[in-house]
C-alpha cells in the first residue's frame, strides 16, 4: 500500500477512480458497498447504498448514490465518462447485514437483505455479472477496493480481513 491514492466513499455516496487508486468505505451495516470494475482500463467505482429503492424517496432532490436503483446506473455513467467499457464491467459487493435480530420483524428492519436483493436485480437488469459477494450476516464491514488489482478487501470485527 505505498503511495496509493485513497478515495473515501461516505454513507449514501459514490465515487470513481482509475490508475490504481483505492476506494474505501467504512462501517457498512445494513448498507451495501458495491463496486464496479473494468479491469482493462483500470477504472473502478464504489457506491455506499443505503436504501433499496428510490420509490420511497420523499426528499426534494434525490441523492442518486443512496438508492440501489439509482446508484448503479449513476456509477456506470461516471465510469463510462472516464472511458470504461460497459460490456467489460464486473461487480462485487459486500454488506447488507442485519445488525440486530428481533422476533416479528417489520420490513424496515429487514433493510439489509432488501438492499442486497435490490442491488442484485439492478445488476441483472443491466447485465453486469457479479463476480463475488460477501453479504448478509449480522456484522459490520469496512471495505477497500484496489483499482489496480481488482481485489475487494473486507474487514470485520469478528472475522478480520478477507479478500474477494
Amino acid at each position: 500500500m505505498t503511495g496509493q491514492t485513497l478515495v473515501k466513499v461516505g454513507m449514501a455516496d459514490l465515487n470513481v477512480v482509475d490508475g490504481g487508486a483505492l476506494l474505501k468505505t467504512t462501517g457498512l451495516g445494513s448498507c451495501v458497498g458495491l463496486t464496479l470494475y473494468d479491469s482493462k482500463s483500470g477504472i473502478a467505482g464504489m457506491a455506499h447504498v443505503m436504501l433499496p429503492s428510490s420509490d420511497i424517496a420523499r426528499e426534494a432532490q434525490i441523492n442518486l448514490a443512496k438508492y440501489a436503483d439509482t446508484a448503479i446506473p449513476e456509477l456506470l455513467n461516471r465510469m463510462t465518462v472516464l472511458g470504461a467499457n460497459m460490456n467489460r464491467v464486473q461487480a462485487k459487493m459486500a454488506g447488507g447485514a442485519q445488525m440486530f435480530a428481533f422476533a416479528g420483524q417489520s420490513d424496515t428492519l429487514r433493510i439489509g437483505p432488501r438492499n442486497v436483493e435490490s442491488c442484485m436485480s439492478m445488476l441483472n437488469r443491466l447485465r453486469i455479472p457479479i463476480v463475488s459477494h460477501d453479504t448478509g450476516g449480522n456484522y459490520g464491514r469496512t471495505i477497500e477496493f484496489d483499482s489496480g488489482s481488482g481485489i475487494l478487501m473486507i474487514r470485520s470485527v469478528q472475522f478480520g480481513i478477507k479478500e474477494i
Binding site: G29, S30, I56, R58, A101, T142
Partner: protein, 207 residues
C-alpha cells in the same frame, strides 16, 4: 422534509430538555446500579449529516458495544446506548464481577446479555421519565446488542431519515463516571414524524 432545516432555537432547547430529563433519570439508574456517582454532560441536540454521526463516538470504525431499542408508542423512534470496549469491561467487572479476559476480543453470551440488560434498564428509565414529562406513551422494544463498528450500528437507526434527506436529528448525552474511566453515550433518534407530537405535548407546537 424541509421542516428540519428550520427548527427554531427554542425548539432545539426543548429537545435538549427532553434529553436532559431522560438521561438524568438514566444516569441515576446507572449510578444506583454501580453504586457510584455518575456524571452527565449537557445533552447535544444536532441535525447531523449521516457521515458525521459516528464521529461522535470516535468514527465509523470505532468498535463499540451497542444496545438498540426501538421506541414504540405515540412518538416512535430509535434509541442506542453505546459503550466503548474498555468501559464495557469495567462495567462488567464492577457490576457483576465478570472478569473479561483482556486477550479475548469476543464477548461471551453471558457478558453480552448482562450489558444488554444494563442498556435495557437505562433506556427504560430514560423513556419512562420522558413519557411522564410529555404525557405520551412510549415503550421500549426488547433490546438487542451488537459488538461491532459504530458506523454499522448507528446506521441502523437512520433508515427512516434516509428517505427524506442525508442528515438526522439526534439527542446525544454522554455519561462519565470517575473522570472518564467509564463512558457511555445515549442516542435518541426520534422518527421524523415524532417531533411535532413531542412539541405539541409540551405546549410549544406550531400550527
Amino acid at each position: 422534509m424541509a421542516e428540519f432545516k428550520n427548527f427554531e432555537a427554542f425548539e432545539l432547547d426543548v429537545l435538549k430538555e427532553v434529553g436532559n430529563i431522560g438521561a438524568g433519570n438514566a444516569a441515576t439508574a446507572l449510578s444506583k446500579l454501580l453504586n457510584k456517582p455518575v456524571d452527565m454532560a449537557v445533552p447535544k441536540v444536532s441535525l447531523l449529516p449521516f457521515e458525521e454521526i459516528a464521529e461522535l463516538v470516535g468514527g465509523a470504525e470505532q468498535v463499540v458495544l451497542g444496545v438498540f431499542l426501538r421506541v414504540e408508542g405515540e412518538a416512535p423512534g430509535n434509541m442506542f446506548f453505546l459503550i466503548e470496549e474498555n468501559s464495557a469491561e469495567r462495567m462488567l467487572n464492577q457490576l457483576l464481577s465478570l472478569r473479561h479476559d483482556e486477550g479475548d476480543k469476543g464477548y461471551s453470551e453471558m457478558e453480552l446479555s448482562a450489558l444488554c440488560e444494563i442498556g435495557n434498564i437505562l433506556a427504560g428509565s430514560y423513556l419512562s421519565s420522558l413519557a411522564d414529562f410529555t404525557q405520551l406513551p412510549m415503550m421500549p422494544s426488547v433490546p438487542a446488542i451488537a459488538h461491532d463498528m459504530a458506523g454499522a450500528i448507528l446506521s441502523y437507526g437512520l433508515m427512516q431519515y434516509g428517505e427524506m434527506g442525508d442528515s438526522a436529528l439526534l439527542i446525544e448525552t454522554t455519561f462519565l463516571e470517575d473522570h472518564q474511566s467509564l463512558e457511555g453515550h445515549f442516542f435518541l433518534i426520534p422518527d421524523p414524524g415524532s417531533f411535532g407530537k413531542i412539541f405539541r405535548s409540551l405546549g410549544v407546537g406550531r400550527e
